[in-house]
């Protein structure tokens, strides 16, 4: 380890360049990882914010944002199914909000019955369990500037009907371009002009102790024209849809992979150049009794030191930059385990980067030490 450090420190400029390269790679990996995780979280945020055990959707619905209407009568029928404690509805659709300055803004309106769960944003007159305010909207804090909401209440038009923005929530920033706006189920049905016989999502809460799979199976058997998912299933389905079908996940993953490759190339080049520069010294080490393990350890330690330094710096710059990025990409999310996890590919790239160098050093003939 000591020798590895001296070898690196001897050429400080190369060390600095190597560390900067790895730092950029670590930044890319953590940042892209945060984008991916944030994107996944945002893709199922509305689903996960309910406390429903079961979601009933139109046939073939893959995510919350693209619903298909289902018959409203299911709302009454399903409440009578054994094991079902309660049912509620959610409807969603694109509408236009006419802002105070007269400019219209496309938004995704989400309206829910008040029983969907305490974490779901509903415009209530007071608190989280009070009566629902009529013609009232709740916006996400990250969209306040876009919707020109600088205080509450703000009078607006929703699809040419009167409405008031009465409050804000957080964590519901949209990843599809149009901001989410929340209201009550009845007002949503009015604004999006949902037919009286239609609804979009039915959410069932089960009685304590009831097996979700059993009720799900029964619902599927009785209502073959709709899809019946557990909340976790629908959440996964929505995430998978947005990640795989839109190409967004692939693009983000590719960028993270690119970060890994950049880091790998930088540290490989640096470690290999350092090794080849010192190849005669490795021959000397072998001649004086340095084992293959010793030689390998010196090179691996060189790569490891570069990797660790780059990782620490990369992590240190990434966290404030991610925080900064949330001003324009509010759904970016960095769980605390992500930077720790990034240590694995950071050190992995160092191990990979050492392979060629170790090979070169182990192949050098120790007898060459006698050449002047």
């Amino acid at each position: 380890m000591r020798l590895a450090w001296f070898n690196i420190a001897h050429d400080r400029m190369r060390f600095v360049v190597t560390v900067l390269g790895i730092m950029c790679a670590v930044f890319l990996m953590i940042f892209q990882g945060s984008m991916l995780l944030g994107f996944m979280r945002a893709a199922s945020k509305i689903i996960d914010s309910t406390d429903a055990d079961i979601w009933i959707t139109g046939r073939g619905v893959t995510c919350f944002e693209f619903p298909v209407p289902i018959e409203r009568r299911l709302f009454e029928i399903t409440r009578g199914i054994p094991g079902v404690a309660g049912a509620s509805r959610i409807s969603t659709g694109q509408i236009q909000i006419r802002k105070a300055d007269g400019v219209r803004q496309q938004v995704v309106l989400v309206g829910a019955d008040s029983q969907v769960g305490p974490h779901f944003p509903i415009p209530r007159l007071e608190g989280t369990s009070g009566p629902v305010a009529p013609d009232a909207l709740v916006i996400d804090r990250s969209n306040a500037a876009l919707l020109e909401v600088r205080g509450f209440p703000v009078e607006v038009e929703a699809n040419n009907l009167h409405a008031r923005v009465i409050g804000e929530t957080s964590g519901f920033s949209s990843f599809i371009g149009s901001p989410y706006v929340f209201t009550s189920y009845d007002d949503a049905a009015k604004y999006i002009r949902l037919g009286p016989d239609q609804t979009m999502f039915l959410l069932l809460r089960l009685q304590p102790g009831v097996n979700v799979r059993t009720v799900q199976g029964e619902l599927r058997a009785r209502f073959p024209n709709v899809d019946v998912w557990t909340r976790a299933e629908f959440s996964r389905k929505a995430r998978w849809y947005w990640i795989s079908k839109t190409g967004a996940g692939g693009a983000i993953l590719m960028a993270a992979l690119l970060g890994f490759c950049i880091g790998l190339a930088v540290v490989s080049q640096a470690v290999y150049a350092t090794t080849m520069e010192n190849i005669e010294e490795f021959a000397t080490l072998k001649a004086i009794g340095g084992s293959r393990r010793f030689v390998t350890a010196v090179i691996a330690a060189q790569a490891g030191i570069c990797g660790l330094a780059g990782y620490i710096l990369g992590t240190l710059i990434t966290l404030p930059l991610v925080k900064l990025a949330t001003s324009s990409i509010p759904w970016v999310f960095t769980p605390c385990w992500l930077p720790i996890l990034a240590l694995v590919p950071a050190l992995g790239m160092c191990v990979l980067a050492s392979v060629l160098s170790v090979r070169a050093a182990l192949q050098v003939e120790p007898a060459r030490v006698f050449r002047a």
Binding site: F6, N278, A287, A372
Partner: protein, 231 residues
């Protein structure tokens, strides 16, 4: 089994492809007494360095046997020969072969590092060895800051730190001025005698002759003369 711990018996080494084989050593048999300094001389291409490589377990002979402390080293695996060099053989090279990124002290301690983790005693020992070679004030200087003679003394200190029974030196004074060369010659002779080290020096320099217990003359890969100096 040979009489002395370091010996070669009928050793031959060839270079090049079978169709154009060049004999570097041809049936060489030599035995080296502990505590003595053997000087191997000969013109360029006579096989001196090849002999040193064979003795140092760096080169496997094509035929013949090499013994070190009772072990036939020609049959050992690569890893076993590495261990043997580490535990038994110290090297001094014409080009010093010091690690350029580390200090004189660290260069010496490398000989300890290849054996495993160093102890405070090892550091004190390395410092004492360097001091005994007149380098007490230069422990923390890097090779680039040392003169040729000083570098060679660091290399000798590195070879001594392992308490090896054999010291192999390839043209150890060829890169030095006459004063430094004389110092190194005296040093190696004294160390051989005082520490009972079997020292083999390869050199073109006839000034070594007076410091050697035995002088071996090689020509075309053969021993043409072996002379013991009267002391």
């Amino acid at each position: 089994m040979p009489e002395h711990p370091l010996a070669v018996e009928n050793v031959s080494v060839f270079y090049g492809p079978a169709s154009a084989r060049i004999s570097a050593l041809s049936n060489v048999s030599l035995s080296f007494r502990p505590g003595t300094l053997t000087l191997v001389m000969g013109p360029s291409g006579s096989g001196k360095t090849t002999l040193l490589s064979v003795l140092g377990a760096l080169l496997r002979p094509d035929s013949g046997r090499v013994f070190l402390d009772g072990t036939e080293i020609g049959q050992l695996s690569e890893d076993e020969r590495t261990r043997l060099r580490r535990d038994h053989i110290g090297f001094v090279f014409q080009a010093f072969r010091l690690l350029h990124a580390v200090s004189a002290l660290e260069n010496v301690l490398v000989a300890r590092d290849v054996r495993g983790p160093r102890s405070p005693h090892d550091i004190m020992n390395a410092e004492a060895t360097l001091k005994s070679l007149g380098l007490g004030g230069k422990l923390n200087l890097k090779p680039d800051d040392l003169s040729g003679g000083e570098k060679q003394r660091v290399a000798i200190a590195r070879a001594l730190l392992g308490n090896h029974s054999v010291l192999l030196a390839d043209e150890p004074t060829a890169s030095l001025d006459s004063q430094s060369g004389a110092l190194i010659r005296e040093l190696l002779r004294k160390l051989s005698a005082d520490r009972s080290i079997t020292t083999v020096v390869v050199s073109h320099d006839p000034r070594w002759t007076d410091f050697a217990d035995t002088v071996v003359l090689l020509e075309d890969g053969r021993v043409v003369n072996e002379r013991k100096n009267a002391k």
